[in-house]
């Protein structure tokens, strides 16, 4: 494991997490996200990688942090409550969910949802909010932002909603963006777009991104740093080239070996 010797943007320090029902999920997880870094956490289902994101945002009713600290911008998120915690959500740390479209209220106009998000973190007029939203949508190459803002998610296509959700997560220009399996359940062609988009985000806004995924292809294209999780623990953590190129943990090696390669058929 990489020793943690300096302060990052987001420091996860020896975090233990359990579900409200009492089941332990994460054991002693420590990760660090630097500015403008893209960190990919890989692992298979049940490895606790999505729980990690929920723990960082302290999603109510989902997880309980029993030990450890999550340092962000000089404060321990685990010690925050109520308003202070709410302020961090959105402005400090944004999140893109597994099915990004589903994180939008399906029956409210997207313009309103932008306005509401911005309004929750400071005074802003509806017109200003619309202006901001339009800019953001055009930066993300979404055609006809006017129409999008006047539509409800149910009236847009799934792909469109995903990109709108990413834009909404970026509306407050968070320093850190958490992305939970942003590409699973997507067609390969769309997957490539999303990967490009996340890279674009970092380039445009200098956002640090923590991506959770099981798709090694995505990792290879996106990550600066890679962490591998198995059974609620981080078993390997290092730069992309190190982890993917010369994995040290047997699990990582097996994982890499299991990835199907584009090659002619294996006959009998």
């Amino acid at each position: 494991m990489t020793p943690i010797d300096q302060v990052g943007l987001l420091d996860i320090e020896h975090v233990f997490v359990k579900y409200p029902c009492g089941k332990d999920v994460l054991w002693d997880v420590s990760l660090r996200l630097q500015e403008k870094e893209i960190l990919c956490v890989i692992g298979e289902s049940g490895s606790g990688k999505s729980t990690l994101l929920q723990a960082i945002l302290r999603m109510p009713g989902k997880v309980e942090i029993t030990q450890g600290a999550i340092q962000f911008a000089g404060q321990d998120l685990c010690a925050l409550e109520g308003e202070a915690l709410r302020k961090v959500r959105g402005t400090g740390i944004g999140m893109v969910f597994q099915e990004p479209g589903a994180s939008l209220n399906p029956i409210r106009k997207i313009g309103v949802q932008f306005y509401e998000t911005l309004r929750a973190h400071g005074r802003i007029s509806r017109r200003q909010a619309d202006e901001k939203a339009r800019n953001l949508l055009s930066v993300l190459d979404l055609a006809d932002p006017e129409r999008i803002l006047r539509s409800c998610p149910v009236q847009l296509s799934g792909g469109m909603n995903q990109r709108v959700a990413i834009a909404l997560a970026m509306a407050l220009k968070p320093a850190v963006l958490l992305a939970d399996e942003p590409t699973s359940a997507l067609d390969v062609t769309v997957q490539a777009q999303i990967v490009a988009e996340l890279k674009n985000l970092r380039a445009q806004f200098g956002t640090s991104i923590l991506v959770v995924t099981h798709n090694l292809g995505v990792v290879a294209k996106l990550a600066d740093t890679v962490a591998v999780m198995v059974g609620g623990q981080v078993v390997e953590y290092g730069s992309r080239d190190t982890v993917l190129g010369s994995p040290s943990h047997p699990y990582t090696r097996a994982l890499l070996a299991a990835v199907p390669k584009l090659e002619p058929a294996c006959h009998g």
């Binding site: 409200p20 029902c21 009492g22 999603m59 109510p60 009713g61 989902k62 997880v63 309980e64 942090i65 029993t66 030990q67 685990c78």
Partner: protein, 286 residues
Amino acid sequence: MKGPVYDARIRYTFLLVLTLAFLFLSILAPLFMPNDPNHASLSDAKQAPSAVYPWGTDWLGRCVLSRVLAGAPVSIFSALVIVGLTLMVGSAVGIACGYWGGKVDSILMRIVDIFLAFPGMVLALAVAGMLGKGLNNAVLALVATGWPTYARLMRGQVLTLKEENFVHAAKLNGQTTVSILFLHILPNALRPVVVTASLSIGGTILSLAGLSFLGLGPQPPLAEWGSMLADGRGLMQQHPWIVLYPGLAILMTSILFNLLGDSVRDVLDPHDSRNLFQKVKRKRIP
């Protein structure tokens, strides 16, 4: 494994045992009756609870306890018969609609729509009113009111299950339509139907009591809780026991079955019971 589901199962088992015991007792109720429930002893009328008449007597000198006990099978088993018939008729129609589809479906569903167009108890009142008073007609009335719900539910279930992979797999196994229907679709479709049915028993008891209260239920001298309440209403102030006990019997039975229904649902349809307004207790080790 402990957890909400585990608790639900314990509660369910407890309530089930309680209900079964209750049912058993209500079958045996006639054995416990201290007096003939229909025997009018005018000299004993309107007596307060005593050793001979533990819950007092009504205006006709009949033993209230005996009548409440005698009324138990009437009220409870009628309700169970109603729910059972409703379930069977509704499910049969629902299965026919769901599995064969096409013309059968559209015709039957139209009929269901027609029945559903009658609000609440209106159809029950009409059936009981047109066909005359009496327990049988009251049962018929409530079945006529209730079955469309099950037809819809069952149809929806069958339609969903028909597209499930395990049904496809069974089809590819070369199983016949009938065997797929009875081996795979029906048993799986029953779950929500059973939940709905068990949730509706309590309400059915109330509906039946309501019909009785209106005089459309069992006719005298047959003891039934709703009609006992209606009969003794005028004596509520002077001789409260005449209405108190049948009223409590209705309340308790309906509570028991409602609890059972709830817990059947909790067991068969477990739902995640955490939300964002839950305070998560945090034990931090410094």
